[in-house]
Subunit: 699 residues, 2 copies
């Protein structure tokens, strides 16, 4: 089935409404650009004041143009733009690119007009991009539905990159920078106010378009969670890397985002969760954004993290090794036997990893070939970086370098290899043609290889594991906030382990429960009116005799009555005493765009001081939960510190996954869940306290 | 007084020993380069086989050259190189650049020969750089004492940058990359094996040479701590930024560093301490190294952290705001009145900060000028970044842009201003001439401004505060390890507060001490043979009656005798019970190169799991101690969490400074000190346990 954006991004016929005879004007630029680029479809300039426009016959109105045009460019004033769109829809135009501004970004009145546009798109099925956008282009088709200067930055033939940017100015910026970096883009789309088509829909289009192999996306916020998730999933299934710049990370940034667009920025932690979950690479700077895209366009992804570093400078070898560790790659040593043979080739070489050819390689470049070949043959690396500085550019060594790498590539067509060198485009290009991406900065070469390794892992992992369904006896979401005992009943019903405990109404019952539990117990007052139990002395620890338990009951009731004479008292909770283990916290928050997200972190200072937490969108399986656990800073706590035994990570991961399933099933009913502390033991884990707050509860 | 490297780096006469007629050969390159560059001094080629070399009269040996040559280039084989050096020294040659390799980097024999070279330098006073180095150059003097290809990368007239690199290959790399980036270097020095002149001595030279304003330094390790500290201090006193790349950060990196050079890499934490203490900027990648140098060469440093961000794209504004927060800058909002006026100028602008001109500024560029002027006039920012993408390069807006910024610069010559734009060198240069550094990537523009702000703080701070001297009664360093009570006596004597406590030998004495302390006490067994007291039950808490204290004494003696019948028992410590406060750790380690360094961190998981510690070289004052305290991750703990009161930071800083003074005074006697825990209270602080280990103690 043809994607609904096909007529907009590969149109066979185009109408320009508000066409201009002047090639530099907004309504003239698309016509001029398409004529220059040899666009093969029909071009229909629409303007009632001219017979011909830029030597093409002009039409007085869209009604005069043959029906069923693929795409109309709307370059008319805001006051007539909505009616023009309606006319297009009536004429069976399949899509529209709206340059016109003056809508939601400008005033309430503009926002109302924009809602009309959304309505036209929905009713007619005509796809609309914009308003207030810089348009779209498709270089290989010669289709320039844009008035941006961006196409003027073109330096390379079109390749496999598709760019989509909510912001037109940033879209133009990134196109220019990426051309300078040797990134070969073909598609470029800016979505502006997103009255209909949004960034996610364009990603979806790229995911199914065989011309696009790598997606570069920029957004300040996203509004349609389902479409975003579906689009990212399609891209991952198609093994197309998505590199995303989502701005608005810090508070200062977020404030600027809110003032800039009408879009909802959402909590940044939730975007982080989304990107991790769908294997998206999140770039922090434009330079990183473009550098990773450059690396991805070669389409080779390492199968694992073992990296081989080869260098003509020991110092740069150290830099690359440092960077590899920073980016999570494994600078594994070469096999001892290989090290010995390399030493024989170049006596003063470093042979462990990094392999340092030394300047000797310049005197006899063939040594370099032998060195690299031996490393590929005898060791088992997933990727290779060779640092050569100016050697490939020097007239003395240029030809030898090319020959060496051509030989290596012929023998080992599938090895993932990058080069760090300094030289102009004519020096770099022969290596790029050998499928060897080239970088100037050695540390940033490593960063790019780490990005490819990340995508390699994402693609080989494929779709994440499915979470198990909720158990049959799962309790429904509460209608008012429930704490402690009631909340733990819910957790228990969905398979999240909780402390063994009972709510009792007398000292005798309390003693019976203590006997059943068999060991020291904790006793707590249970009252919906007493939230901070410890403040009134409402928690007693380590009670372990009939006398202690019976007296404890009386003490708690007494304290509660004294502290809050009118409090409703449900009784006293008698619970097993949990000792040892590592304190963690789990929770659920409800994002207005993406719905429930599950949080995980370690207790105490990790959460309170370091904010060391991570999120995932609900629901997710146990494997994803393990990835969450592995990415917190304090991860080592769970391996056991100060001689403590390691924690039961499976029990923890199971609990996170189950909580996520419950949150997803009750997405419309639950506002927040806190499970704090959730103690992970050497065997098993147990929720000690919990709070569940339903939606719409103002208390 | 003339610096001892003056003859090497600004020589009036040069001998090339091993001179070649062929301009491309090692012994021919310097002569060829100097002739092309119009070197004004005398050039004496030395080679017994020629009458003339490259049209200059040749000399058979250094003895035939006029005495007192400023610099000799040694380009002869290793086996005759040492004798050649000796001959130079005998002839009164003032300095030598040794290209020859085959010394410490190659073999033990080579290392012996290198020690001879060091000896010649010491005895004769002739300064020697190398062996195994790529040499030196000084572009403005036309002096090329190098056989590197680096000078071929020259693109700009010489400026104010001095480069020094231990590694020749990396030195050439960074010269090439920095030229591409528009960094105007003049001096370039590679130190190779550092038999005499090291990186630090060259920094010292740059610090006192008025031609150099910015220092770029690269090293894998350093050996002469005093010289390094002196050099960095001179540079800071002269307000010359030093940007340092010191590789070998991670374990993998450090292993590669050790295999590459004969130098001592030292613990990386100690280098971090050194750099922070002397206000050096540590770069992580070559790209960062060069980018910061580029920014520094304009010589304007902001006076504070308040940054004004102006942009033609809201999205990029958000990126820059995010980056500003990341790099510790303050994106302060504009005054409300100014915001209102800006809104009047551009109705749809973002006016808080970032200020978003919107595309309106392109239609009427003068609006931009008014905008920026108003911001400078009415708000109190320390720095400004203006993001303009391709606007300054577009033929429609190029001239207007130049005019606007020329006007602004004329009115406000001292405002620190940067621009983020895309365009070739001819577009960038006019702005550079207005003292506006230009960057492509908006986030990296912010990084560069943050670096300038860092140097601004370093320079305005000047020399750090001097620590107070040790008190008169300070105890000497111990001769064997001392723990707990004895160690705390030492701390107390140097002014570091410790728990009030006494060592007692009877239950009666114990009771007397308890009475004196007046409140609950802790009692601990004191025995040099029992290190892990808690394991044998040797610590009793919260004793607060005559009976408890007397019984406690008996219990502890009893437990100690049972657990270790032969242990020497000194008695029992009766100490005040410290409650509340924040647990921290302080310590001293002795670095083989830099001597004692003081560590600070928070106790518990912060040290054990997160390794959240920071170091400074001893001694240092209270202000430096405050900076240490402020840079740990868990800093917020000291402000009080969960309703705890804030900690007494002055008491903590005082203690760190005093410990540093003691460590420095006893640098040759003390191996390590641990003060753990050191509890910081709302008022005051107190060491609860400590251990001091002297040097040379193997126990």
């Amino acid at each position: 089935m043809t994607h609904q954006l096909e007529p907009m991004l590969r149109p066979k016929s185009v109408a320009i409404i508000g066409a201009s005879n002047t090639p530099s004007r907004i309504g003239g630029r698309p016509i001029n650009a398409m004529k220059n680029a040899g666009y093969k479809g029909e071009i229909y300039p629409v303007n009632p004041n001219y017979e011909t426009i830029q030597d093409l016959p002009a039409f007085a109105s869209i009604q005069d143009v043959p029906k069923g045009v693929d795409c109309a460019i709307i370059a008319v004033a805001a006051k007539v733009a909505v009616q023009t769109l309606r006319d297009c829809a009536d004429q069976g135009v399949k899509s529209a690119v709206m340059f016109t501004s003056g809508f939601a970004e400008q005033s309430d009145e503009g926002a109302r007009a924009q809602r009309e546009i959304t309505g036209i798109a929905k009713e007619s099925g005509m796809k609309i991009i914009g308003p207030n956008c810089l348009g779209v282009f498709n270089i290989s088709a010669g289709w320039y539905g844009t008035f941006s200067n961006a196409p003027g930055a073109l330096l390379h033939p079109p390749g496999s990159i598709g760019i989509v940017s909510q912001s037109g100015a940033y879209g133009a910026h990134v196109f220019a920078v990426s051309q300078l970096r040797g990134v070969r883009s073909n598609y470029w789309v800016t979505t502006g106010n997103e009255s209909d088509v949004d960034v996610a829909e364009v990603i979806e289009y790229y995911a199914q378009n065989p011309e696009v192999k790598v997606v570069l996306a920029y957004a300040e916020g996203m509004k349609d969670a389902d479409r975003v998730c579906r689009a990212l999933e399609m891209a991952r299934d198609a093994e197309k890397p998505v590199i995303f710049m989502k701005v608005g990370k810090t508070d200062a940034g977020a404030a600027a985002a809110a003032s800039h667009t009408a879009s909802l920025a959402g909590a940044d932690a939730v975007y982080d969760a989304l990107f991790k979950q769908y294997g998206v690479y999140r770039a922090e700077t434009t330079e990183e954004f473009v550098d990773i895209a450059y690396a991805c366009q070669f389409g080779n992804y390492p199968k694992g993290r073992k990296i081989d570093l080869q260098t003509i400078s020991g110092g740069v070898g150290v830099q690359m090794a440092d960077a590899s560790v920073k980016y999570g790659l494994d600078v594994a040593p070469l096999p001892k036997a290989t090290q010995k043979k390399l030493k024989e080739l170049i006596p003063f070489a470093g042979v462990n990893n990094p392999v340092d050819f030394t300047a000797q390689a310049l005197n006899d470049p063939k040594l370099m070939e032998a060195n690299i070949e031996m490393t590929i043959e005898e060791a088992d690396f997933d990727s290779h970086i060779v640092y050569l500085a100016g050697v490939p550019a020097s007239p003395f060594t240029r030809d030898a370098c090319r020959e060496i790498f051509a030989n290596i590539r012929k023998k080992y067509p599938d090895e993932v290899m990058m080069m760090s060198l300094i030289g102009p485009q004519d020096i770099v290009e022969p290596f790029e043609k050998m499928n060897i991406p080239c970088f100037e900065d050695p540390s940033l070469t490593v960063r790019a290889m780490a990005a490819l390794t990340y995508f390699g892992e994402v693609f080989s992992r494929g779709r994440p594991d499915k979470p198990s369904a909720l158990p049959k006896g799962a309790l429904p979401a509460p209608v008012e906030p429930i704490a402690e005992h009631e909340a733990k009943k819910v957790l228990n019903s969905i398979g999240v382990p909780v402390t063994r405990e009972e709510l009792v109404q007398s000292a005798e019952e309390a003693v019976k429960v203590w006997q059943k539990i068999g060991g020291a117990v904790v006793m707590k007052i249970a009252s919906p009116d007493i939230l901070h139990k410890t403040e009134i002395g409402g928690v007693l620890l380590k009670l372990n005799s009939e006398k202690e338990v019976a007296e404890g009951y009386a003490t708690l009731i007494d304290r509660a009555k004294k502290a809050k004479p009118n409090a409703k008292i449900d009784g006293v909770i008698v619970a097993e005493m949990v000792s040892g283990g590592v304190e963690t916290v789990m929770g659920v928050v409800c994002d207005p765009v993406f719905g429930p997200a599950v949080m995980f972190g370690l207790g105490g200072v990790f959460v309170e001081v370091l904010k060391d937490v991570t999120f995932r969108l609900a629901p997710f399986g146990v494997d994803e939960a393990h990835r969450m656990i592995n990415e917190i800073q304090g991860r080592a706590m769970l391996d056991g510190v100060r001689g403590a035994p390691p924690s039961d990570l499976n029990a923890l991961a199971e609990a996170l996954s189950k909580l996520s399933v419950y949150a997803a099933e009750n997405a419309d009913k639950i506002e927040t869940i806190d499970v704090n502390p959730f103690i992970v033991l050497p065997e098993g884990a147990v929720a000690v306290d919990a709070l569940i707050v339903p939606k719409g509860d103002a208390s």
